[in-house]
């Protein structure tokens, strides 16, 4: 095979058995890779009704055919499993160098089954695959664990994906971190890894990724990179400010959720913006493997902030450098908690990386707790500290407490849905299917509301990034307040993003590239004559399979909904003042565009059409 390595590595953690098998070529063709092929294997092998944290759940790391090639942004792998936060099929994506190393070691997919009796880590060095004891690392943060595992392997170039204490402690939104700062962040994939007693996966590959049509691939990648080097966002915006470029933009649109989505503009957004970071704290831009955009931020806490917060990234960290924050994290830890202290955000974000937490869900859960505290529901006795909106110190303290499930952190570790329910106020949960919203108010951007409600992994901005059309004007400007056309927009974006995920590429390149720039890459790498339609169709197929999984898992279509606050409480001020989400206007149309029944189920004809019958 070309593009794909053609090999699946399977490790049974219960028995220690390690096996290799051929990648199913039909599935590879139809589901492409990454998110798609991971979903196909999960569908085949795991009962959707399984308890996410039971040994019967499997944890799949899946690369795509372009992972490890020189296509720009060809660095991605997808963690596919059943998530403990949502109960849905969970697909968490990460970049860095881990995915390419797995490919160079000779594997498209890594399937982990069962549960190890004692903590272990997996070491993959080309053909050498072994489970090693990790009891001495259990309880250790990501930064030190990675360093220790790398030291133990002794092989330069080793990339480590691991969990921190949050994953070990089964925090429902624990992340898997690789290369210290890149995260398969959402939905609790780290908790699944922790439930399997698997601390980390170290991988080093010295082999090659071959492509079917070298000259076509070279031509396609030059063209693709040319577009990225000319598009304003990928050539200027993201390199200059990272994703944090969005902070001021979204705030000006009145779509920046503030203080647990009670407002939609943050008066101090400027203080936590990409511009502020670039002027005062940016040390370097950092790219994932093969990325020509380099949106990653390497930042330093300010000198003043250093008196309050130390970073524990490494004892040799003489520049006090850490990574981030991304726009999402600066929003969740910042605006959503009313925190305007960029140093506190950097510190909390670093804790998330080290303890292995999803900063979006963490920040949003703390924001919900702050609402309860200010409303008098939670007392200082219960939370262990004053918890008003805007407290950077509480944010930092609770980030750490959550990773270790200490004190009130134990409640926060359950996510805002369960935390709100426990204290009798489920209405403070701002999210869908148990997963917290990201950083765009669905009342101000109608398309985002539909995208959140219908995302297969719970609320997510990366599944249908209608912001592109509603704010940035790509590929065509659309009125953010209108509901017309949003169903078609959401479906198109969902299908295309899914195809990009499956190819092993980063969705951020769609800030510059269109699908037509990417299709020739997939075709040249694999030797399969994909055209744009075939890839969109593959995206649709994957989307439908995920939907089927969720239906079988017992996630009813009635869960395609938004919290009451989004539907009934109008935005109080700003450009989107008076707006609510009009989801009910869009959802029936969405089902129709999807070709599903009016109650949101793919019917037999649709499934047959997609080859899923």
């Amino acid at each position: 095979m070309h593009g794909w390595t053609g090999c699946v590595l399977r490790v049974d953690l219960s028995t220690g058995a390690i096996g290799r098998e051929e990648l199913n070529p039909d599935w590879a063709r139809d589901f492409v890779g990454g998110r798609g092929i991971g979903a196909r294997y999960l569908w085949q092998e795991v009962d959707p009704q399984v308890d996410a944290l039971a040994p019967e759940n499997k944890l799949i790391f899946a690369t795509g055919p372009l992972t490890g090639t020189n296509a720009s942004c060809g660095s991605r792998y997808m963690v596919v499993t059943k998530g403990p936060l949502t109960g849905c099929i969970t697909t968490s994506n990460s970049g860095g160098h881990w995915g390419p190393e797995l490919k160079f070691a000779g594997y498209d997919l890594l399937i982990l089954e069962g549960r190890a009796e004692r903590p272990v880590y997996l070491w993959i060095f080309d053909d050498v695959v072994e489970l090693r004891p990790a009891e001495h690392l259990w309880g250790t943060g990501v930064f030190d664990s990675e360093d220790a595992i790398r030291r133990e392997t002794g092989i330069p170039g080793t990339s480590v994906a691991c969990i921190g204490p949050a994953g070990e402690n089964l925090v429902r939104y624990a992340a898997i971190l690789n290369d210290k700062f890149r995260a398969a962040g959402r939905s609790g994939v780290g908790a699944v890894m922790g439930s399997k007693n698997l601390k980390g996966i170290a991988v080093r590959g010295t082999g090659a990724v071959s492509v079917a049509d070298p000259s076509a691939l070279m031509a396609a990648q030059w063209a693709q990179k040319q577009v990225l080097s000319e598009a304003p966002l990928t050539s200027e915006g993201l390199p200059a400010y990272g994703t944090l470029a969005l902070m001021n933009v979204i705030n000006e649109h009145g779509a920046l959720p503030t203080r647990n989505y009670r407002e939609a503009q943050f008066e101090e957004a400027e203080a936590i913006s990409g511009e502020e970071l670039a002027q005062t704290r940016l040390a370097a831009n950092k790219a994932c493997f093969a990325c020509t955009i380099a949106c990653g931020r390497v930042s330093r806490i300010s000198e003043e902030g250093r008196a309050r917060y130390t970073l524990n990234t490494s004892p040799r960290n003489w520049k006090h450098a850490t990574e981030g924050p991304e726009y999402e994290n600066a929003w969740s830890l910042g605006a959503d908690c009313g925190v305007a202290d960029l140093d506190a955000i950097l510190k909390a974000n670093t804790i998330c990386n080290d303890l292995g937490l999803d900063p979006i869900s963490l920040g949003a859960t703390i924001a919900a707790a702050m609402e309860l505290y200010e409303g008098g529901v939670l007392s200082e006795e219960q939370t262990g500290m004053p918890l008003p909106f805007g407290s950077g110190d509480a944010l930092v303290a609770l980030s750490e407490a959550t990773g270790y499930r200490r004190g009130f952190g134990d409640d926060l570790a359950e996510g805002s849905k369960r935390m709100g329910e426990k204290y009798g106020h489920p209405e403070v949960f701002m999210g869908v299917k148990g997963q917290e919203f990201p950083a765009y108010d669905p009342r101000a951007l109608q398309g985002m509301g539909l995208g959140y409600a219908t995302s297969n992994r719970g609320a997510c901005h990366l599944r249908a990034y209608t912001v592109a059309a509603e704010v940035v004007g790509e590929p065509e400007p659309m009125d953010p307040r209108a509901t017309e056309g949003k169903a078609q927009l959401a479906v198109d974006m969902q299908n295309i993003s899914t195809a990009v995920d499956a190819a092993g590429l980063c969705v951020f390149l769609t800030f510059g590239n269109t699908l037509s720039d990417l299709t020739p890459l997939v075709a040249a790498a694999t030797g399969i004559a994909y055209d744009d339609d075939a890839l969109v169709r593959a995206g649709e197929r994957i989307w439908n399979l995920e939907r089927l999984w969720n239906l079988r898992a017992g996630i009813d279509p009635s869960e395609d909904k938004l919290p009451k606050r989004m539907l009934e409480d109008a935005i109080p001020a700003g450009p989107a003042r008076g707006e609510v989400s009009r989801l009910a206007e869009m959802l029936p149309e969405y089902y129709a565009v999807r070709g599903w029944s009016p109650d949101g189920r793919p019917d037999a004809a649709k499934l047959a059409e997609l080859g899923l019958g």
């Binding site: 040390a283 493997f289 093969a290 003489w318 520049k319 450098a321």
Partner: protein, 159 residues
């Protein structure tokens, strides 16, 4: 004569240079076979592509017992003559910079040959951290070293 000038402060650590180099070497994507390597120093927020300096006084050349390392007249690069190399690895030991590699099938040494005057790494670098330009091959290292030294001292003083 042209040389590779490296500007580590512009490098983002994307490894496109490694991909390009390995493509030239193997026709596939195999960074482990690249003759230019990017070192990622996370703690220092620093990334540095690193390859042969094409030393005037090339120790690899001097150490080779069979004269398998020669100067390419056109590009000025020191190149390994595969058919002469006996695989003794003395050049690997002699190189003070660790830029001679021994991963090539056939048991011969491999080093940067400037792609015969058109280096692939410089062409693909998205941030111009690697430049193919008229300069002394080692010209960049002095100022870069000074800058690192300065930063380090400043950080030490700040602490």
């Amino acid at each position: 004569m042209n040389a590779l000038q490296i500007h580590p402060e512009k490098c983002t650590g994307c490894k496109q240079c490694e991909l390009a180099c390995s493509w030239v070497q193997t026709g596939g994507f195999q960074p482990s076979r690249s003759l230019i390597r990017v070192h990622i120093f996370d703690e220092q927020a620093s990334y540095a592509p690193y390859t042969c300096f094409q030393c005037d006084e090339a120790w690899c050349m001097q150490a080779c017992p069979v004269n398998a390392i020669d100067v390419d007249e056109a590009s000025g690069a020191k190149i390994v003559l595969d058919e002469v190399c006996v695989g003794c690895k003395l050049c690997v030991i002699a190189c003070p910079f660790g830029t001679i590699f021994f991963d090539k099938p056939g048991g011969v040494a491999a080093k940067c040959d400037h792609c015969a005057g058109d280096p692939a790494c410089a062409k693909v670098c998205p941030t111009a951290a690697i430049e193919w330009t008229q300069a002394d091959p080692g010209a960049w290292i002095g100022p870069f070293g000074d800058r690192v030294d300065r930063d380090y001292r400043a950080a030490e003083e700040a602490d």
